[in-house]
């Protein structure tokens, strides 16, 4: 216990400065001002794996670590879609996960955002056209923004999230 404490005090804060502007693609017709007013200071994110290869998940997991630390911007990950404001969808939506993704979306209270992460989320990525894949996330749920990349780096994902909610760095 003491050793843990000594390491913590010696290491200090290692959080990096926030990333610059992102190349997120806005799809939805929602007003940026309204989103900022509602979610600008607090956004609860529920990550949904719709058949991804887990590359994007690894990058997203990096966001909770001390270097990227998304909590300093009021963003947080939650376990239940009932608690969530934003669904972070990864993976091309496979046939098996299409219904699950739709139910998760229905279980989330309004108003909500959907952000598709990675090229798979955009249009199926390298799995586009496969018999096992329904198409990008927008084939099942209405998508508000897409973060391109395969996989996008944590900095890119964080920048995209901050731009979507209109949060100042």
């Amino acid at each position: 216990m003491r050793r843990q404490l000594r390491i913590a005090l010696r290491t200090g804060i290692v959080t990096e400065p926030p990333p610059g502007r992102s190349d997120v693609e806005r799809l939805g017709a929602r007003l940026a001002g309204e989103i900022q007013r509602r979610f600008g200071r607090s956004l609860a994110i529920r990550q949904v794996d719709a058949g991804s290869c887990n590359g994007c998940e690894l990058e997203i997991a990096g966001l909770t670590g001390p270097h990227y630390d998304l909590e300093r911007f009021g963003l947080s990950f939650v376990a239940s879609p009932r608690h969530a404001d934003c669904l972070l969808v990864t993976g091309p939506v496979t046939r098996n996960m299409a219904e699950a993704l739709r139910r998760t979306w229905e279980a989330t209270p309004d108003p909500k955002l959907v952000i598709a992460v990675g090229d798979c989320g955009r249009d199926g990525g390298i799995f586009r056209g496969s018999y096992a894949v329904v198409g990008g996330a927008d084939a099942v749920v209405p998508v508000d923004a897409v973060v391109p990349g395969c996989p996008p780096s944590p900095a890119a994902i964080l920048a995209a999230l901050l731009d979507v909610i209109g949060r100042r760095r």
């Binding site: 239940s80 879609p81 009932r82 996960m97 219904e99 699950a100 993704l101 139910r103 998760t104 229905e106 279980a107 209270p109 309004d110």
Partner: protein
């Protein structure tokens, strides 16, 4: 026919209620009818304690009888036994001499035996009635032995004469009588380890009878213990109080532990009765110890707490049994694992059962909370008795009571939650219908009484202190606060259920108003339960009663000694696939295993040996007669 019996019982109950209220208020009378009963005649005396128990009988008999009259559980079987049961329970507290008491007691037991046996085709029912009959008559034997010994030593069979003559008897004699009487009364009250009949008999009887048995009959055992411990034999030595306190603590913890793991709704309620009798006895034991130490104020407080809990338990246990009866009637089963979702189909029953569950879980501002609070406050002042051994006993009582109340809350979360909430776990529960109006009215009346006894604590406690004072013979007034606040022992502790209730009510409204003012989003959207995106939500995914009790089964495993049974039927084609898995994790009763079975086995082996006397040959019997004749001639 059954309705006539129920109405007769209701009338008797009403009379009892009125007489009881008079008794508590101070009126006292005596009725003597010499020729009605042999060996002493019928003698009835009303005093405050008897009045309180009459209120108990009447107060529970009235709603139970309405319930019975409106219930469809009609059979002509219990039509005569039921009013006899209620009437005999009225006579027991009033009895002023041995024969009256014993005859009323035996009538009560016989009548309830017939009521328990109301389904003689069921083997379980027959066994329940048999165990009940054996235990109650074993208790009667102890009672008779004690009372007749006392009669022989004091020269009279009247209780008033015992009161006068008790100081003259030796400590040993009084100790023997106390042990015999306590054994008999404790058996009737359901104190561990004489409790085995309770979880068998109470579920087997029809619900209104269970309500009376659990709410009133076992309290007559408590009545007997109060009389034996404080009245008939005078003030006793400390070991009497210690015995009752420890028995109460053990009963309360073990009772609730068994209730937690039971899936039969009525059996759970029966075990919970054992737990509450334990809590009452903790108060009685504490009262006896304080009385013996000369701390009259504390003695009255502890006894008032015990009497209050007696009153409260009668109310909410009767309410719970009536609710359980409605549920069993609607679903046709007592097994909680087959119920669920009943709150939507039986809203009135569910609301009343919730009030009863909250009351028995001792949640403020209801009545169960006030009596447990009083018991705690009485126990926490035990350092006024400067004897470390007694302080240790009190500390055990305090810890046991705290553990019990926490476990009781868990038990009734299970009882209400599994039975009424979420989805129905079976077809019968899915088709359940609400209880008929008479049954509903009875339950609502009892729920209102529960709330009233809680909010009106400041009126009830002084009356109970007076009753306790009449019992111990101490007439010194004990201050218990004013109309708003219950103040105990000169500022040791205060409580105001009325203020708390008003504050809770206002605080419930506050968020509603605040949300409206803050402009929070209104309305709501309905959707299925979050199941991780799973396609189907079936009742099989819900929490079961067994699963709910699992943490307790593990933590208290040394007590339950569960035996796991796993039975797997594999697919005939390949052992990789399973057709059927049967898993059972029953708990064993250590009392059955360690106490009753060895005792019954020993009895059986002795009886087997003794059979040798009955050889069947007439010559041997003639020889016996001849030997007995020679022996008598030699002695004379």
């Amino acid at each position: 026919m059954a309705a006539a019996g129920a109405l007769a019982a209701a009338a008797i109950g009403l009379v009892a209620l009125v007489l009881g209220l008079g008794g508590v208020a101070g009126s006292a009378w005596t009725v003597v009818v010499d020729w009605l009963v042999p060996l002493g005649g019928l003698e009835l005396t009303l005093d405050p304690l008897a009045g309180l128990f009459l209120i108990l009988v009447g107060g529970v008999a009235l709603p139970a009888s309405f319930y019975a009259a409106g219930s469809a559980e009609r059979s002509a079987r219990g039509a005569l036994a039921y009013p006899v049961f209620v009437a005999s329970m009225c006579v027991v507290p009033l009895a002023a001499n041995t024969m009256t008491f014993v005859i009323a007691w035996e009538l009560m037991s016989l009548a309830s035996y017939f009521l328990v046996l109301h389904e003689p085709e069921e083997r379980a029912s027959v066994r329940a009635a048999w165990v009940y009959a054996v235990m109650t008559h074993a208790g009667l034997a102890c009672l008779l032995a004690g009372m007749l010994l006392m009669g022989a030593w004091t020269g009279s069979l009247r209780f008033a004469d015992w009161r006068a003559a008790a100081p003259g008897l030796g400590a040993g004699a009084r100790g023997v009588v106390f042990v015999l009487l306590a054994a008999g009364f404790a058996g009737k009250a359901g104190v561990i380890p004489l409790h085995v009949w309770l979880p068998l008999a109470h579920p087997a009887a029809p619900s209104h009878v269970s309500a009376l048995m659990s709410g009133v009959m076992i309290k007559l055992g408590v009545y007997g213990l109060l009389r034996a411990g404080l009245d008939w034999l005078g003030a006793g030595p400390a070991w009497w109080g210690v015995a009752l306190l420890l028995a109460g603590t053990v009963s309360s913890v073990i009772g609730v532990l068994y209730a937690l793991v039971d899936n039969d709704l009525k059996k759970l309620l029966a075990f919970s009765s054992i737990e509450n009798v334990g809590i009452i006895l903790i108060g009685v034991g504490a009262g006896m110890l304080y009385h013996g130490a000369g701390l009259e104020g504390l003695a009255l407080l502890a006894l008032a707490a015990a009497l209050y809990h007696t009153l409260n338990h009668a109310t909410f246990k009767a309410l719970l049994f009536l609710g359980a009866g409605a549920v069993v009637h609607a679903t046709g089963t007592r097994n909680m694992e087959a119920m669920g979702g009943l709150i939507k189909r039986m809203p009135w029953t569910a609301a009343c059962f919730l009030v009863g569950s909250a009351a028995i879980a001792a949640l403020p501002p209801l009545n169960g909370f006030v009596s447990e609070w009083l018991t705690f406050v009485a126990l926490l002042q035990n350092t006024r008795i400067a004897q470390p051994m007694l302080n240790l006993v009190f500390a055990l009582g305090v810890a046991g009571l705290a553990l019990t109340s926490g476990l009781a809350m868990a038990c009734f979360v299970k009882a209400f939650g599994i039975t009424f909430l979420a989805l129905p776990r079976g077809d019968a529960a899915a088709r359940a219908h609400e209880a008929p109006p008479a049954m509903r009215a009875a339950m609502v009346a009892l729920a209102v009484v529960c709330v009233a006894l809680g909010l009106g604590a400041t009126l009830v406690v002084p009356a109970l202190v007076t009753v306790a004072g009449a019992l111990t013979g101490d007439r010194a007034p004990v201050a218990v606060g004013d109309w708003l606040t219950l103040g105990v022992s000169g500022g040791f502790a205060t409580l105001s259920t009325l203020a708390i209730a008003v504050a809770l009510g206002a605080a419930l409204a506050l968020p509603l108003i605040a949300l409206r003012l803050a402009g929070a989003a209104r309305g709501q959207r309905r959707y299925e339960t979050w199941g991780c995106g799973r396609m189907l939500q079936t009742p099989r995914m819900e929490c079961t009663a067994t699963a709910f009790a699992d943490p307790f089964r593990r933590v208290f495993g040394f007590f339950y000694r569960p035996e796991k049974r796993l039975d797997i039927t594999f697919h005939p084609g390949a052992r990789y696939f399973v057709q059927r898995i049967e898993y059972a994790n029953p708990t064993r009763s250590i009392f059955d295993d360690w106490l009753y079975r060895p005792a019954l086995d020993a009895l059986r082996s002795v009886a087997h040996r003794a059979r040798a006397i009955q050889s069947g040959s007439a010559n041997v019997y003639l020889a016996y007669i001849f030997a007995a004749l020679l022996l008598l001639l030699a002695l004379a």
